[in-house]
């Protein structure tokens, strides 16, 4: 009997070695950890329960019948992050380069199904060479099965993709349909077709890093939501992200005891907005000063920096923050910023995370580049996302809220629940100068008259009070009391119930 039990142990130890000591060494030499090491870092100590350890591929073509490694290039199972259940699959680059076979895919879909059934987040760790070519269409079929489940689970459980090595071809589309993608700098890249194919087809010479490195995807393409220095930093920071995320769309955001007084005043916020309306200030300072303990997890920090999105907590409970950033392009709404914020708002809404919006927006960015690029539809995405949201929405206008951008940025009219404005707010169709030049076009020759009218316009409209008179803002608040106001509004809104009419699904302007 004892030797039977020992047989299991010896089989397991073979499986744990994956592609063998030599390949593990090579993986380390590349600055990367193995699939199992990664999982150990991601999960609480000793909580990983591996499934399908002994699964092998069934391919017999091209000599594959002789090459079998238990696990078949992917490690799957579940464990906990600070006690909360998550499902994990990690591509094992040391086994067949992590390539996807039919059985490899089946291991992933099994875990996906369990995650969905038990309503827990799933995290995929990617470091692989694509489809197992020897299997041909069987591998492609496997991809499709994975993709389909990504979509079914979307908006039900959080799905996170960590790109920790190559991720190309069919492998990219599963991450693309998950909620967040993070990449390791210098050792990971993502593209549909690699540099060799690019060279053959378009004659363009490009490196993997230039084509799909972390920098490209976090700053240019917006495919990735963030990047990290190395595997260890990524995995430990992913644990931090999971602490912010609900396990599913029903359970609500996680809570923990806060060390920060929700009624804390911050006098320095009273001087955050400069006297000169053309002078920028850092909206992140406001976010960092109102969230619990200054702890903010930014999403897409390097992309469309004129918009800030990310997670913080108030009274120990997760809140999504969306804010125009006056430091970059004056905080203007352009296509990129609109798309970035729209996706974030929809994530929060899907998972019942309340949203706080800070508004300082001079309008939409004018110009052919924007218009040809479809600013109308991209801007509409954000408008759509906010209008559709049923989670608590609290908005604070710190300075400019001009034109259509005012409406878009979680205004009362599109469904925000509590709208505050700082005394420095200017809620208007446009700046005074522009407005006067249109209204008093006939007087343009008379600078004195124009100056007087500009002053009139400023006094009348460039304040929060016209909007307050109409109830478009619920209250004008002192900047230093912002945290307290937000905490109270969010507490009051916890029982918010809002039903959208029944439909198959909406038709968002994609």
């Amino acid at each position: 009997m004892k030797d039977i039990l020992e047989e299991l142990e010896s089989r397991r130890s073979v499986a744990r070695l994956g592609g063998g000591a030599r390949r593990i060494e090579a993986q380390h030499a590349r600055g990367k950890l193995t699939a199992r090491e990664r999982i150990e870092l991601l999960l609480d100590r000793g909580t990983f329960e591996e499934y399908d350890t002994f699964v092998q591929h069934r391919c017999v073509d091209f000599g594959m019948a002789d090459q079998k490694v238990p696990g078949d290039g992917v490690v799957t199972g579940w464990g906990t992050v600070n006690g909360r259940k998550v499902f994990v699959f990690a591509k094992d680059f040391t086994v067949f380069g992590g390539s996807l076979s039919e059985e490899h895919a089946r291991k992933i879909t099994k875990i996906q199904d369990m995650a969905l059934k038990t309503r827990a987040p799933i995290i995929g760790l990617f470091d692989a060479g694509g489809a197992r070519i020897q299997e041909g269409v069987a591998a492609l079929g496997g991809y499709g099965e994975v993709f389909k489940r990504n979509v079914v689970a979307s908006g039900v459980i959080p799905q996170i993709s960590l790109i920790m090595g190559p991720c190309a071809g069919g492998d990219v589309y599963s991450p693309a349909m998950t909620d967040f993608i993070f990449m390791v700098r210098d050792t990971s890249y993502m593209f549909v077709t690699g540099p060799e194919v690019v060279k053959t087809v378009t004659n363009e010479t490009v490196t993997s890093e230039e084509l799909g490195g972390a920098k490209v995807h976090t700053t240019k393409s917006s495919v990735a939501d963030g990047s990290y220095e190395n595997d260890v930093e990524m995995l430990l920071e992913t644990r931090r992200l999971i602490d912010f995320l609900p396990s599913n769309n029903q359970e609500g955001a996680p809570e923990w005891p806060s060390f920060d007084d929700p009624g804390r005043y911050d006098q320095s916020l009273d001087t955050l907005v400069p006297d000169n309306p053309n002078k920028p200030y850092d909206i992140k300072e406001l976010i960092l000063k109102v969230v619990d303990e200054g702890d903010f997890f930014e999403i897409q920090a390097a992309y469309a920096r004129n918009m800030v999105t990310g997670f913080g907590r108030i009274e120990g409970r997760t809140v999504g923050f969306v804010a125009n950033q006056p430091m970059v392009l004056a905080g203007v709404l352009d296509s990129d910023a609109s798309r970035k914020a729209a996706r974030f708002v929809r994530f929060c809404d899907a998972f019942e995370i309340p949203i706080v919006t800070f508004v300082d927006v001079p309008g939409f960015l004018p110009g052919t580049a924007q218009e040809y690029g479809g600013l109308i539809k991209h801007g509409a995405k954000l408008l759509f996302a906010y209008s559709q949201a049923t989670v608590p929405l609290v908005t604070v206008i710190t300075r400019k809220a001009f034109g259509g951008a005012y409406d878009v940025m979680a205004s009362k009219h599109v469904g925000a629940d509590v709208n505050y404005a700082w005394p420095t707010a200017q809620i208007a169709v446009m700046g005074a100068k522009g407005a006067v030049e249109i209204i008093f076009r006939a007087d343009m020759g008379d600078p004195d008259k124009i100056a007087a009218q500009t002053k009139n316009y400023e006094e009348r409209f460039l304040s929060p009070f016209v909007a307050a008179e109409r109830g478009y803002v619920d209250e004008v608040i002192m900047p230093h009391s912002t945290r307290r106001r937000l905490a109270r509004a969010l507490a009051m809104l916890r029982t918010k119930k809002l039903e959208q009419p029944s439909r198959k699904h909406d038709n968002m302007p994609l």
């Binding site: 380390h28 600055g31 950890l33 090491e37 150990e40 870092l41 609480d44 100590r45 000793g46 909580t47 906990t80 600070n82 006690g83 909360r84 259940k85 700098r185 210098d186 990290y228 220095e229 190395n230 595997d231 260890v232 930093e233 430990l236 920071e237 931090r240 602490d243 609900p246 396990s247 359970e251 996680p254 809570e255 923990w256 005891p257 060390f259 920060d260 006098q267 320095s268 916020l269 009273d270 001087t271 955050l272 006297d275 200030y281 850092d282 300072e285 619990d292 303990e293 200054g294 702890d295």
Partner: protein, 675 residues
């Protein structure tokens, strides 16, 4: 006594004067430029008068505007602070014409001491020790050598019109005089168009020691001991102390009496400072007299217990001095650090902008230690490009020099400033410098001890354990909270590993300290382990620190400790005693995996030259395609009236230039790109 005075200044000194006036029951009037509309001195004063645009030349430096402000508010007297109008003889004269009292010396005294040559003559006449030398113009090298023989070597041959080190030659022997004379003369001619040179004794390793004097309108003058200000960077004082570790009682008395003699000779009738250059052998020579309140006056106040501003106001009102020389007793030791908005890691370039965080240490007396912080700013305020970049003067006083320095180091560690660069890391490192602690000072101290500029200290010795223990406790508090997150899987609870490995980043390596943290009554017990796993020291840490606090203050065993804590991805940036280190608290497993991670080249010498501070481009020295060597000048940017030379940090080729002379750039704007 006056019922209302106006302070013709801004910043910390204006606030400083207002405090004393308020204590004396005198109403105060502040003046302010556009840039200072929301400044602290405006808020503190009973009234405030706007005097113009931000540029000092159009506001704080216009005497007529001050007079107008006095008339408007009925202020009877004006305190000028330091800088601005404080040492212009024309200012008290103008005030007198309007019947306004100047809280400072009479214009005659200002005039007499304002001119370097004249003041030296006056000093010599009053039998004050002056640098031996020949103030006349030298005809030739032979004459120079003859005089040098008389003075004694080494000597300095100096251009009359000189400045900035040009036209200066040191000669250690007779042979070197002729050559030095010729070179100084030709350099003087080419640099200043004036080839007159003179010779004087060269003081080796000079120290800067100054005597505080106080006079009244009745002919009384006393001295209030000395201050040593030898810690200077580019002739700007950085750290001052009182008394001086160099002086003995006899020398102090001699210097004090000479200073009083000079003050009496010019009819000095306020607070003033007689500056001396001193040799390591306690020889001293008159340098100049400052006819105003000095920046560093607080150290004198703390060791004498005399409020200098109060005395200035009283004597200005005509009261005779109530203190005699015999009343002046020096008690304990005081050390002052000037906290500047300048980035020590970027060659002390000025840094301006919003004070996102400004939390000075607690002021007041705690046992034998007094902490005083003179400042003119507040959290959320602005360090503007228009004025002196001083943020605060942090002063500590204690019975001995060693305790005062230790208290200063503690206070600096507890001082939190974010949003702009500041020199606290440098000051903190300085406080731990053995040569400073020994009092072996000279005005060349900083240049000699930091020849390649300042770099953060790496953690070493006991501080490795101190910082590791603090990081471990902080991490422990975070972990303890994580166990309370909602939505945990029911069943067997997660068992977190107790053993932690703290990694501290040092210059080239990572310092690894295994430890275990246990919550005990009133604190945390941290057991440190050696690398081989044997148990080492145990420390008891007590603190009220909680997540979100930026300073960990508490005790480690018996020591009071403050550590700056900022969050970075997966760790904490800790700063303490001039050390800046990234602390990461790992489990044994994660530590072993972290050790496998590749070392990456840190940024620096990047592909772009960024504007290091908001400023105006004066010139661009390179063109696209040009090859540059490490250290070559790339561009000159002017900020706060300072020209800052930006040099290549590596060899390379210029790919593109994005700025041109006259451009006004924001911080981190791209000036040029390397290929």
């Amino acid at each position: 006594m006056f019922s209302k005075i106006l302070i013709a200044n801004r910043g910390e000194i204006a606030c400083r004067v207002i405090k004393t006036a308020r204590k004396m029951g005198i109403k105060t009037v502040a003046v302010y430029s556009d840039a200072d509309k929301d400044a602290l001195h405006v808020e503190m004063a009973d009234e405030a008068v706007h005097i113009g645009p931000p540029q000092a030349a159009q506001s704080y430096l216009i005497a007529e505007k001050i007079v107008e402000a006095c008339k408007l508010t009925g202020a009877e007297a004006v305190h000028p602070g330091y800088g601005f109008l404080s040492e212009r003889a024309s200012f008290p004269k103008l005030l007198a014409e309007h019947g306004i009292v100047f809280i400072g010396p009479n214009p005659h005294a200002i005039d007499a001491m304002g001119d370097k040559i004249e003041s030296k003559k006056a000093a010599a006449a009053a039998n004050v020790s002056t640098v031996p030398g020949y103030l006349g113009v030298l005809e030739n090298g032979t004459e120079a050598a003859k005089i040098a023989d008389e003075i004694g070597y080494p000597v300095m041959i100096k251009a009359s019109a000189g400045g900035g080190g040009k036209g200066m030659r040191i000669a250690y022997s007779r042979d070197e005089v002729q050559d030095g004379f010729d070179r100084a003369k030709s350099e003087a001619k080419s640099s200043f168009g004036d080839d007159r040179v003179f010779v004087e004794k060269f003081i080796v390793d000079p120290r800067h020691i100054e005597i505080q004097v106080l006079g009244d309108k009745h002919g009384n003058v006393i001295y209030l001991g000395e201050r040593e200000c030898s810690i200077q960077r580019r002739n700007q004082k950085v750290v001052e102390e009182a008394p001086s570790p160099l002086l003995d009682e006899a020398t102090r008395k001699k210097m004090g009496e000479q200073a009083v003699a000079l003050a009496k000779a010019v009819g000095y009738d306020s607070a003033g400072t007689v500056e001396f250059v001193a040799g390591q052998d306690k020889s001293f020579y008159f340098l100049e007299m400052n006819t105003r309140l000095q920046v560093e006056h607080p150290v004198t106040e703390l060791i004498t217990g005399i409020d200098l501003v109060e005395q200035m106001i009283r004597v200005a009102a005509g009261e005779p001095l109530s203190i005699t020389q015999d009343d002046v007793k020096l008690t304990g030791w005081a050390v002052e650090s000037r906290i500047y908005a300048e980035d020590p890691y970027r060659n002390f370039l000025p840094s301006t902008g919003r004070l996102v965080r400004y939390r000075p240490p607690a002021e007041g007396k705690d046992g034998p230690i007094t902490v005083r912080n003179d400042t003119g700013v507040y959290e959320g305020g602005e360090i503007s490009i228009f004025y002196d970049p001083m943020i605060a003067k942090l002063v500590t006083h204690a019975p001995t020099r060693a305790i005062a320095i230790e208290a200063q180091a503690d206070a600096l560690d507890a001082f939190a400033i974010d949003g702009i660069g500041h020199n606290i890391p440098f000051l903190s490192a300085l406080m731990s410098h053995p040569r400073w602690r020994d009092g072996r000072l000279s005005t060349g101290f900083i240049a000699e001890e930091y020849p390649d500029g300042f770099h953060a200290r790496a953690p070493e010795g006991e501080l490795v354990h101190t910082l590791s223990a603090v990081a471990a406790v902080i991490d422990h508090i975070h972990n303890a909270r994580k166990r309370h997150i909602s939505g945990q899987t029911s069943g067997v609870p997660v068992a977190f590993a107790k053993r932690r490995i703290v990694h501290l980043s040092a210059a080239e390596e990572t310092l690894s300290t295994p430890c275990e943290v246990e919550a005990v009554d009133g604190g945390y017990k941290v057991q440190i382990f050696d690398a081989d796993g044997t148990a080492g020291h145990t420390h008891l840490l007590r603190s009220t620190w909680k997540p979100g606090d930026v300073v960990w203050t508490g005790t480690i065993d018996a020591d009071q400790v403050a550590v700056q804590v900022r969050t970075i991805p997966n760790g904490y940036l800790l700063a303490h005693r001039g050390i800046a280190t990234k602390a990461r608290v790992y489990t044994e497993l994660s530590a072993s995996l972290a050790a496998l991670m590749p070392k990456k080249e840190t940024a620096g010498g990047g592909k772009e030259l960024l504007c290091p501070m908001p400023g105006l481009v004066v010139s661009i020295a390179v063109t696209p395609g040009q090859e540059v060597k490490n250290g070559e000048i790339l561009a000159i940017v002017e900020a706060m009236k300072m020209e800052n030379v930006l040099r290549a940090e590596r060899d390379g080729v210029i790919k593109a230039v994005h700025a041109k002379a006259g451009d006004s750039l924001a911080v981190d704007a791209v000036i040029l790109e390397f290929a």
